[in-house]
């Protein structure tokens, strides 16, 4: 089941390489909306942890089990990020996140052809939010790394 919030608590953890070293962390996001996004229409701003922003060049995106770079998603007009599924964003950060509580935010959304051109495009200076506009609830959460 999904959590109501855009940023999902389930799945928030450090990730490790084969040697057992933490290479980063992962966090799930969902669309609080009425349709999923074709990957070519998905837009990503950042994952922010305790004031540090991680942009698309340090992230990969796992949809239905398949991992994509942001560049790869632009060509995928026939692959859907399903509405009922959290996308896992995997973030490179050597050493991962420290044990304890973190303030985690995300900015992401989708562009849509039924609204005027340009709506839904993101600016990395925007506040956290979904659908490409800043929203207050559910896009910033206090979450604990164990």
């Amino acid at each position: 089941m999904l959590e109501y919030e855009g940023v999902q608590y389930k799945g928030f953890r450090n990730i490790y390489n084969e040697e057992g070293e933490a290479t980063g962390f992962q966090v799930g996001i969902r669309m609080i909306g009425y349709r999923g996004a074709w990957l070519s229409e998905f837009r990503f701003g950042y994952i922010e942890v305790d004031g540090e922003k991680f942009l698309a060049d340090r992230c990969t995106f796992v949809v239905s089990g398949v991992e994509y770079t942001y560049e790869e998603t632009f060509n995928l007009g026939r692959v859907k990020w399903p509405l009922n599924e959290a996308m896992i964003v995997r973030v490179q950060k050597p050493g991962g996140l420290a044990q304890g509580s973190h303030t985690v935010s995300a900015l992401y959304g989708q562009v849509a052809s039924y609204v005027p051109f340009g709506s839904g495009e993101l600016d990395i200076n925007q506040k956290p939010g979904g659908h490409g506009h800043s929203e207050s609830f559910g896009y910033t959460r206090e979450m604990i790394i164990v």
Partner: protein, 290 residues
């Protein structure tokens, strides 16, 4: 035997509960509320409702047909989108790209039992004018719509007015093609004449349609979004002149489905959404004399 009086029928759109789906509610829960309310007509937003869209599993399809039967649901309208800016930098999709999406949904809508579609085309202006090749797209799709017996309907939604040129262009197209397979979903928000306090900044006083503006369009309207923003405790929608609009529909013998669509505040509160939709159906029953 006296002829049965034709009146609009009641239904709901899954939009009423969208942020709760997959969190606190599933499709069957919506069906049970519909059965409680005697609101049999259903609109789904296909993309978010069909797991694996646009390729549902056999397992889900079996479940769908089982639930439709169990709860006496009438699949009325299948909400879908034809994306025209699918790739970064793209401004208008080709005819082929558009048709691929549209025909795919026509077939799926039909298979699921729907007879109407809310066909959202891409737009090219701030006033929501559709893509420049919309006539070509729809013309090419009409034989499919006819073969699969589903009506494509753009939604006429504020800030568009019913008297706008765009609407008239659609009417001219329908008459020229002489088709029953293209029409309108009129969103009742076009009649909104008072702002919702929490959402006042979205209200456009200069873009209000008059109830009677719907009259010439009624022959082409197969179902409507019965938009509501604020249902009061005494069962009145406080921002849209429902009584006038529905009275006109009754006078003209329009008996399509009114599909509740909640667009007011506090959609994050599931009990607020449930209460609002129940109030809305009490309200409509009263107007319809039921």
């Amino acid at each position: 035997m006296s002829e049965e009086r034709k009146v609009p029928k009641r239904g709901i759109s899954t939009y009423c509960f969208y942020p709760q789906l997959g969190v606190n509610m599933d499709l069957e829960d919506i069906f049970m509320h519909m059965q409680d309310m005697g609101a049999t007509g259903l609109e789904i937003l296909a993309d978010g409702i069909i797991p694996g869209y646009p390729y549902p599993s056999e397992e889900w399809l079996n479940k769908w047909f089982g639930l439709i039967k169990k709860y006496d649901i009438v699949p009325v309208e299948y909400g879908h989108w034809v994306e025209s800016r699918l790739y970064p930098g793209q401004r208008e999709a080709s005819l082929e790209e558009s048709l691929e999406q549209l025909i795919r949904d026509i077939k799926l809508a039909h298979y699921l039992g729907f007879t109407c579609m809310r066909t959202k085309l891409g737009v090219i202006s701030e006033t929501l004018d559709p893509v420049s090749n919309w006539r070509e797209i729809i013309h090419e799709a009409l034989p499919y719509a006819e073969a699969f017996n589903v009506v494509m309907q753009p939604e006429i939604h504020a800030p568009t007015k019913l008297t706008d040129r765009m609407v008239n262009d659609y009417v001219e197209f329908i008459e020229k093609e002489n088709t029953k397979y293209f029409g309108f979903n009129i969103d009742f928000g076009v009649f909104q004449n008072k702002p919702v306090p929490e959402m006042a900044r979205f209200f456009r006083e200069d873009r209000v349609s008059k109830p009677e503006d719907i009259i010439p369009l009624l022959p082409y309207v197969h179902c409507c979004h019965a938009k509501y923003y604020n249902m009061s405790a005494d069962f009145e929608e406080t921002t849209i002149p429902y009584r006038e609009v529905i009275q006109i529909m009754i006078e003209h013998g329009w008996d399509g489905y009114l599909l509740s669509e909640y667009e007011g505040p506090h959609k994050e509160d599931i009990n607020h959404c449930i209460e609002q939709v129940r109030r809305h159906h009490v309200f409509m029953k009263k107007i319809l004399g039921q």
